[in-house]
Assembly symmetry: C3
Homo-oligomer: 402 residues x 3
């Protein structure tokens, strides 16, 4: 679990100016990319999926990021667990199918075999002195929040439970534990993962870059988010069963913005994030009506969700190389909704598919410009305030090595 510390990292971190973008090297150096995986991603909570993907004992799926592969499964007691997909013998992947059901995982190379609790069964022909209890699969930490599965593969695990506890009542009406994935898509972009994440973290770019989104979402222009609009939404929200508090943790001024929940209004005529403004799927959870709002939900630094009254979109920005990131998007509807009957997939995904295509382009040209030796980080706008929290968190974690 060791890796090389990038040369001159401390001086590079010192060169960062609060309120300004990060220097070029964070987006262009191979050694910093590898450090990002080993020190940042491996010590962060990552949203990997939903319990509906692994309903039965032995059900599993793989989640991969950077150089890592993780087996997420239901063990024999029906608990969700996650293991590093790395044989404890000579390191082979022990599981090569992306999803399935298994009783054991037998390494394809030398047949070291692990049960659903990660325990090594025996260790073929290893001799009498071999102690298999020392060679179980490395286990990742797991949290399941309202059906959403989060993992952390490293030893330095950010505190998450306090935030999840505070979030629970706010999220409850949406019944997130009862969802099904209606569509999944991956948008590969030739850019460092931080540029892709930063793009998601600010809506300063929404007005110029996202015509479709900006037609319906008041977040694109804070001055358009009038008290009148907010109060109308909150009134309908109370009727529909929605709390209206904002949750933002830690408190401003403290390091990291690990939890964020805020519901804000769509423009009049829009009941949800759709082309027509009309609903695209059955109401979620306990909701009894549309409030004309949408929720921005962030759980940990890396994991982002949008919750409309009738569907949920999850976003993650998965590094696959120094300047290659998979923007992975999942559209969820209520667990009992039936495609073609309760929702039309094309209509459902329209807004965030179009928006992701826009982002692919602007993130790519952002990386192209940042690659210039002449790039000098500029000042962040007020609407980009969320990025500074990310920078603080990121720089702190890579400095200490995770």
């Amino acid at each position: 679990m060791t890796h090389q510390q990038p040369i001159g990292l401390d001086a590079l971190i010192e060169s960062c100016t609060p309120g300004f973008a990060l220097p070029r090297s964070f987006y262009t150096r191979e050694d910093i990319y590898h450090h990002d995986i080993g020190a940042y991603w491996n010590n962060s909570w990552i949203w990997v999926g939903h319990i509906s993907q692994i309903a039965a004992s032995g059900d599993y799926f793989l989640f991969e990021y950077g150089t890592e592969s993780v087996i997420v499964l239901r063990d024999s007691a029906n608990d969700v667990r996650a293991y590093l997909n790395v044989c404890r013998h000579r390191g082979s992947r022990v599981c090569v199918e992306h999803q399935g059901n298994a009783r054991v995982f037998s390494c394809p190379y030398h047949a070291w075999t692990y049960d659903l609790n990660g325990h090594l069964r025996g260790g073929r022909a290893m001799g009498p002195d071999f102690d298999p209890t020392q060679y179980g699969l490395f286990e990742a930490k797991v949290r399941v929040f309202e059906g959403l599965i989060f993992i952390c593969t490293g030893e330095t695990t950010p505190e998450i439970d306090t935030g999840l506890d505070q979030l629970r009542a706010l999220a409850a009406p949406f019944g997130l534990g009862n969802l099904k994935a209606a569509h999944s898509a991956s948008y590969p972009v030739p850019a460092n993962w931080k540029l892709a994440l930063e793009n998601y973290m600010e809506c300063y770019h929404c007005a110029p870059s996202h015509k479709e989104y900006s037609r319906s979402h008041s977040l694109k222009d804070p001055s358009s988010m009038t008290n009148e609009l907010v109060e109308a939404m909150q009134q309908k929200g109370r009727e529909a069963g929605l709390p209206s508090q904002v949750l933002s943790l830690p408190a401003e001024g403290q390091q990291g913005m690990n939890f964020y929940y805020r519901r804000y209004p769509l423009y009049p005529g829009y009941q949800t994030g759709s082309k027509s403004g009309e609903p695209v799927a059955p109401l979620l959870g306990n909701l009894t009506g549309y409030d004309g709002g949408t929720t921005d939900l962030q759980i940990g630094v890396l994991n982002n969700f949008l919750i409309y009254s009738d569907y949920v979109v999850g976003y993650r920005f998965v590094p696959t190389a120094l300047q290659r990131t998979d923007i992975q998007v999942v559209w969820y509807v209520r667990g009992d909704a039936v495609a073609g009957q309760d929702y039309d997939p094309d209509t459902l995904i329209w807004l965030w598919h179009e928006t992701s295509l826009d982002d692919e382009c602007i993130i790519r040209i952002n990386q192209e410009g940042v690659n210039s030796h002449h790039f000098v980080p500029g000042p962040l706008a007020d609407m980009e305030w969320g990025m500074q929290s990310f920078y603080d968190n990121y720089l702190s974690m890579i400095r200490s090595g995770g």
Copy 2:
């Protein structure tokens, strides 16, 4: 504008032997390649095009090399200017079209908008303390010499004006300000840019590698460039309006060979660089006849031209990766020449197209051999004298960091 200094660079420079090729590391190390862009290319004059490409105010084209992109344009006062294509906010490319006409450049990401003088107009939603005058596009230095446009993007700008002044009278008869690009081609070669440039800098390889060139150009064998041949050319040249001096700056023994003008004879029967020896386009500028000669013209270390009586070829060797270079070639004819009437493009480009194809191959196998751990730089031949000037200039600039 900072970059990492390659580890052990000083010792590597010390290991170079005058009169011998450069050591392997200069052609194989990623960190040295990035230093080449940041310290050498960004502080060199680069020929990027001709004023005929941007005739009107607002006309622009992009020029790209290494990690850099530059917007070259006519401003509202009709002056030629060049700007780094990097937004001063978070670094996005502000211009993505390769050529066009624009009144402003509005960054596709957050809509920071720059005028033709590079000034930032406002800076949307940046708050009252924001001073847009501090965030104009970085401007590159520009020189226009007889219609040829040169830029330098860095702060350490080599002296060029003295040389241009001395060159002016020699170049005048060709009317370079009145040219049109008849054809442009790019020959990508899997080799470091220095190997591609070195190939151009010496004619020791012409006899074995370039059959077509060697049939007509006496430079391939200095002993074949007889006094008789030279005098015949000069006699015709005087009649046709051509000066015959050689210009070579700085003087030999000094560092750098930044300017070079020399006219030398083709073999009898060749009026220009063509398959048949017959003219391929109208006489350039003020010329009144053919002298059976051709001019080697070098302006700055990186920029090379061949001037026949009826056409001009420009060559540059643009790095795109450590071992990937675009050999970019432009064929120019007199500005009023009409394709299909005054010249046939295939006939025009024949010689230097064939010669470039030969070079693609030999530069590639040069790189393959230099990649060997067993490569030891060998001695330069007399006919390779020009390379040492390049080495001196290159080593000096990368040592000091540009």
Copy 3:
């Protein structure tokens, strides 16, 4: 012949634990890969082919590995010689055809011309002070053992002659000097060369990974290699003209396992390594019958052969990039065997083609898992003992720089 020493290499070597796999960095770091070529491969004996490929004076073939290219040829005295394919002038490849017959090698770039003894003929236009005797092609060391050609390009040459002398009597009955290549194949695998070589060095993986091989070869399970089976093979071997000693050099406990010869039994019903167990080609050399055995032969650390009674398979694991290796396999039959008449190529290659396809897959997923920051080298099984010899040899050679 110099290269950069990887940063922190000594500490990395110190971190290796005897009896355990190597740490991740040896398989993931670019600088270590380049050091592998310069310090390990260039100072190792490499099997490159068979004398039947270069029967006549001037016959040559190229052998390439990593960044290196070697010309292997018969000189005018009919001796086998090998030269680095790097011009002593500016490093170009001097030979670009993969095989052929030549009197001289004339560099395509500047026409420096070398004879079959590697001597530079002249050196065109190099002036009166140039001494061509100082600029012959660098010569690699060559050993021909029973028709098999081995080279070593570096200056630190491992002792090989003592081992070859001891091996001669054991190998003699197979008549290896009289072979012809019936088929050659290359299996590219996205993994570091060491993972590919390690895969070959142990049969712990045979039972789970190689169904076809395990059906016939008792090596897959040492307990199945009964005295009865061994004695039956040895009895038949004496009748067929086969010695039955084991050769293993240096003695165990000493560093390096450079020579290994052992004949072991196939399971009953198998006369050779074929699908049916039936012979697939004429008996080799002086053999008079089948003994139902096969020979594992290792010559130097990198070179491996399997000798059945009727055919020979040679294996090498040629690095082409950090995580890209060509598994090169050659099937040999007796020199006078005629395809379609004495052997059917598809039948001949079946076993080791299938086995190589299996290995492609498991070596790939081994590399994928080793790439994880979470990979921790595990303990080697008894059946993997040969790998430790390789590790000892490898670490010793890269520490000293070759």
